[in-house]
């Protein structure tokens, strides 16, 4: 008989999304590490080289999807870890909305950065 150690409420939508993003991230995070450390080396990075990759819409869209899934998976993971430690009530609401605001800022800045390489608007 298995013991259920999961931090998440089974059957919930967040639980499902945490798993779906995990399945995607397992592949894309491994690809990201392999490409940027083993195919290209981190110390050889230049703006032009990053730009040449990000100008391909396939690579750009993959990186945008990577940013959104990693942010959701990471921040939702942190939120659930804090709930595991006994976070409840008003503190839970404050933490939840702080994490949502931090995620929104991260996504906005991440998209701006990707756009800077892709030659798309950076908004300001």
């Amino acid at each position: 008989m298995a013991e259920h150690y999961s931090s998440f409420t089974k059957g919930g939508r967040l639980w499902l999304w945490q798993r779906l993003t995990a399945a995607f991230l397992v592949v894309v995070l491994a690809f990201h590490f392999f490409l940027l450390h083993f195919v290209y080396h981190a110390d050889e990075v230049t703006f032009a080289l990053s730009q040449s990759r990000m100008e391909m819409w396939t690579y750009y869209s993959l990186m945008i999807l990577f940013l959104f899934t990693a942010t959701f998976h990471g921040v939702n993971g942190v939120y659930n870890a804090l709930i595991n430690q006994g976070l409840t009530g008003t503190k839970r609401q404050i933490v939840k909305w702080t994490l949502i605001a931090a995620s929104a800022l991260l996504l906005f800045q991440g998209v701006r950065t990707a756009n800077a390489w892709a030659g798309l608007p950076t908004f300001f």
Binding site: M1, A2, E3, H4, Y5, S6, S7, K10, R19, A22, A23, L25, V26, L29, A30, F33, H37, F38, H41, A42, D43, V45, T46, F47, A48, S50, L67, A70, T71, G74, V75, G77, V78, A81, N84, Q85, G86, A102, L106, Q109, G110, R112, T113, A116, W117, G119, T122
Partner: protein
């Protein structure tokens, strides 16, 4: 058949001597997750130097003297950064391998050998990390 149960005081880390392999896997997954999400915010902050770099003149960009390239090159010249990158690789590899293990366990695959698959994740993480050290350290000296 799986069963949910009240974990009670399982988050009481003072009981670490009583922890099973599954509990250690849970703690390591949590720890590596915290590191990775912290790195995600730092990573985007560093990469954001591409925004001002994009408006620098083409000659500066072609010469690799823009703010983005010089920031990355400066960071990569530091041995401490290279060592931290090896640590980040170890953290990411463990989180990926243990994450795969968790996905399989969630699907009911390998429940009876979940302790062995945790040990396999640890060993494979160590092997991949050690094998990657030359690539990560190359050019640092």
């Amino acid at each position: 058949m799986s069963q949910s149960y009240n974990r009670g005081l399982i988050e009481d880390f003072g009981r670490w001597r009583e922890f099973s392999a599954g509990m250690w896997a849970w703690i390591f997954h949590k720890f590596t997750g915290w590191v990775l999400v912290g790195y995600l915010f730092t990573h985007i902050a560093v990469l954001s130097t591409a925004i001002p770099a994009a408006s620098q003149d083409p000659a500066t960009l072609a010469a690799g003297e823009d703010i983005y390239t010089t920031t990355i090159v400066t960071l990569e010249s530091l041995l401490l950064v290279r060592i931290l990158e090896v640590g980040l690789l170890a953290v990411a590899v463990f989180h990926i391998l243990n994450g795969l293990r968790l996905l399989l366990v969630d699907l009911g695959i390998g429940l009876d050998s979940q302790d062995k698959s945790f040990y396999a994740s640890l060993i494979l993480t160590g092997a991949i990390t050690v094998a990657s050290v030359p690539t990560f350290i190359a050019g640092a000296f």
